[in-house]
């Protein structure tokens, strides 16, 4: 029996709204199937299931906003008959007080579906005067009761107060995304002792190789410099596992694969960080295709849960219209963020001669708990070395 829970689609996500079930009780589901859509501060996300089985029971109905970790549905082996949707067991209260032989066919009181236990409730706000409904709603919406002024009987916090507080925290999508980014970045700078390194990399070989490739291929098969940078970064990370890791519970947990979260700006402001999977194992054309699809999904608001949850490290690439260098803020609980500035032609010394060369400034923001400057420097040098042999990428 498997449990399908509200995933955390980013370190800053505390709750999500289940907007649609794509599968229904009785449906067979396979690992990787998209079975639900969840609305978060960062947009609508398609959520995948991580096991094979049968969707036995839906616990959270469409439209409900629940905290991360809340049980959304039960995935079974399919051996038992699927229960009808939203048929929780009858409540104890109704069992205790049935009217004697109700002749009017009065149905036993159904439990409120939203009274379902939540996996990650806020700590109970003891000593706060709040109605049961306000408490339940606050838990669902992740609103902290201690910060709310009550308008109910005796100054008690009531439903409307919680809704108003949630609305103040709500607002339009871009404002909410700004707050979500703010929360994650503030947490990062508060908790992660960053150190920064930068190096300028000669892109002469890479640019030449790329120009040759692109000249030989139709537009749909051409590559962007960013793809070479991604691949070189992934290969370098294999040698520096402490930078492709999570820092959690006071210890370093290296990741098994290199999934690079790619900072993607959205038109109209804000950003998302969808992951390009197994970057080290992909060919450059494969990577280009995946990056193109990811950017498209990010901008059309159709990212999947795995796009947002799987990143093991983050790369921000300013592209061809940005600044020379970027010193990023690590996306917790990752341990590193690699930045690439805008490639530009600069004077470069080759064999004692100053020549114009395409160069890029690569930077590393790393968690000093997980790594040290010496290793960081070697890591950037490794990227530089790999980019000198683009045909090997």
């Amino acid at each position: 029996m498997g449990e399908f829970r509200m995933p955390t689609l980013g370190a800053d996500m505390v709750a999500g709204t289940l907007t649609e079930w794509y599968k229904h009780p009785g449906d067979v589901v396979n690992r990787g199937d998209i079975i639900a859509a969840v609305d978060t501060d960062k947009g609508s996300i398609d959520v995948e299931v991580f096991e094979d089985g049968v969707l036995e029971r839906v616990v959270v109905e469409e439209g409900q906003k629940v905290p991360v970790g809340t049980l959304l549905a039960v995935i079974g082996s399919g051996a038992g008959a699927p229960a009808p949707a939203a048929a929780p067991s009858p409540p104890a209260a109704a069992a205790q007080v049935p009217p004697p032989t109700p002749p009017s066919a009065a149905a036993p009181a159904a439990p409120s579906p939203s009274a379902a236990p939540t996996a990650a409730p806020l700590p109970p706000a003891h000593g706060v005067r709040a109605s049961p409904l306000a408490r339940r709603l606050a838990a669902d919406l992740r609103v902290d009761l201690t910060g709310i002024t009550g308008s109910g009987p005796g100054g008690a916090i009531v439903k409307e107060d919680v809704e108003a507080a949630a609305a103040r925290g709500g607002g339009d999508r871009s404002a909410r995304m700004r707050r979500a980014i703010a929360a994650a970045m503030a947490k990062s700078n508060r908790e992660i002792p960053h150190f920064y390194l930068a190096t300028t990399i000669d892109l002469g070989a890479a640019s030449a190789w790329l120009a040759q490739w692109n000249a030989a291929h139709p537009p749909a098969e051409r590559l962007l410099p960013a793809v070479l940078l991604l691949k070189a970064t992934a290969l370098a990370l294999l040698e520096f596992p402490e930078l492709n890791a999570r820092w959690e519970q006071e210890s370093l947990q290296p990741a098994a694969e290199v999934h690079i979260g790619m900072v993607t700006s959205l038109r109209g402001g804000g950003l998302v960080i969808p992951a390009v999977h197994q970057v080290n194992r992909r060919t450059l054309p494969e990577l280009m295709r995946e990056v193109r699809e990811l950017v498209q999904r990010a901008r059309s608001g159709t990212l999947r849960s795995s796009d947002l949850t799987d990143g093991t490290v983050t790369v921000t690439s300013l592209g061809d219209r940005g600044a020379d260098a970027v010193f990023g803020v690590i996306y917790p609980p990752q341990t590193a963020l690699i930045g690439f500035g805008t490639p530009a032609e600069r004077p470069w010394v080759v064999a004692g001669q100053v020549v114009p060369r395409q160069v890029v400034t690569a930077s590393l923001a790393a968690d000093h708990r997980a790594s040290d400057g010496h290793r960081g420097g070697m890591f950037l040098a490794t990227i530089a070395r790999l980019l000198q042999q683009p045909e090997g990428l």
């Binding site: 205790q96 109700p102 009181a109 409120s112 109605s131 049961p132 408490r135 009987p153």
Partner: protein, 332 residues
């Protein structure tokens, strides 16, 4: 068709006596006097002394006789002058009428209907004015209903006569002269279902019998303040229609229970408990109650008025559970 609650009862009694030869009416002053509240006026002349029988002043005896007649296959309607007097018959009700089906393993039925007046407001002092229907609602084995409208007064009686078990009909004494619309029988009347008398969204006001009108008057006043109170008429006190009560509370998130009985150990306490059990996480305020003062109902009018639930007190209780919260709602 408009008629008074009293006329509605008389129409129902007349029809019952005409329709079924097993039906007969008995009680104190139901014959020559026409009933303490004139519900049976003229029935003695119409149906004769065998079917409209005046009884001695012994509630125990004539309620007991009614139980015996019901056991013997008749369909007796017993009128008790007030619920205060019915206490003399409690042994017959609790130890016989309510138990015989159970104790006989289902072999015996007591298809008895008992009507009685309840409630205060007429300056007839403590021994005629109490609201003890909640005591009856405590007893398994009987059914307890409280018509609050002329329509229910007209149609609850035939529905009660169709029940195989004892049904107690509580008629609030202030309702007899009240006029109301009486429709045709809408199929078999759902005898044990509560009714929403006025839909609302801010608070559920739960009442029965004589308190329903007061709750509606309060709702009228509250509406001018922007508060939409939903008025729920229990109609049946045993069984209670939990589903309708809880459904309404889950919508309005607040509840005020109006009960002319005393607060302690009352029907209102039972309803508040069930709301807590069944809708706790939907409550946005504690359940409030408006009950009679815990005194024997006084004789002087100003004291009696003060002792009984009144629209002003219901309004105050509603405002209490809403408090400034409703102001925002009213604006929205």
């Amino acid at each position: 068709m408009r008629m008074t609650y009293r006329e509605a009862l008389r129409t129902a009694l007349t029809e019952a006596l005409s329709a079924d030869p097993r039906v007969f009416l008995m009680g104190e002053d139901v014959g020559r006097y026409g009933g303490a509240y004139a519900a049976s006026k003229g029935l003695l002349e119409q149906f004769g002394p065998d079917r409209v029988r005046d009884t001695p002043l012994s509630e125990s005896a004539f309620v007991g006789a009614g139980i015996g007649a019901a056991l013997g296959g008749m369909r007796p309607i017993v009128e008790v002058m007030t619920v205060n007097f019915s206490l003399l018959a409690l042994d017959q009700v609790v130890n016989s009428a309510a138990t015989l089906r159970h104790m006989s393993g289902g072999q015996l039925s007591v298809p008895l209907v008992v009507r009685m007046a309840t409630g205060g407001g007429r300056q007839v002092a403590a021994q005629h004015s109490h609201s003890l229907e909640g005591w009856y609602a405590h007893v398994p084995g009987i059914r307890v209903v409280a018509p609050a409208t002329a329509h229910d007064a007209r149609w609850m009686l035939p529905a009660a006569l169709r029940e195989p078990d004892p049904v107690f009909i509580f008629e609030h004494a202030m309702l007899y002269p009240e006029e109301g619309e009486v429709g045709e029988e809408p199929g078999p009347l759902p005898l044990f279902a509560a009714a929403i008398r006025r839909p609302g969204r801010d608070v559920t006001v739960i009442a029965h019998g004589g308190s329903v009108g007061k709750a509606l008057a309060a709702a009228e006043q509250l509406a001018t303040e922007g508060i939409e109170a939903e008025v729920l008429d229990l109609r049946s006190l045993r069984p209670l229609d939990d589903a309708t009560i809880l459904e309404s509370v889950r919508r309005c998130h607040r509840a005020v229970v109006v009960d002319e009985g005393w607060r302690s150990g009352s029907l209102s306490a039972e309803i508040a408990s069930r709301i807590s059990e069944g809708a706790f996480f939907e409550l946005d305020a504690p359940v409030a109650r408006v009950c009679s003062a815990e005194v024997p109902i006084p004789y002087p009018k100003h004291l009696e008025d003060t002792a009984l639930p009144q629209p002003d007190g219901i309004c105050a209780a509603v405002r209490g559970v809403l408090q400034p919260a409703q102001a925002a709602g009213a604006k929205a």
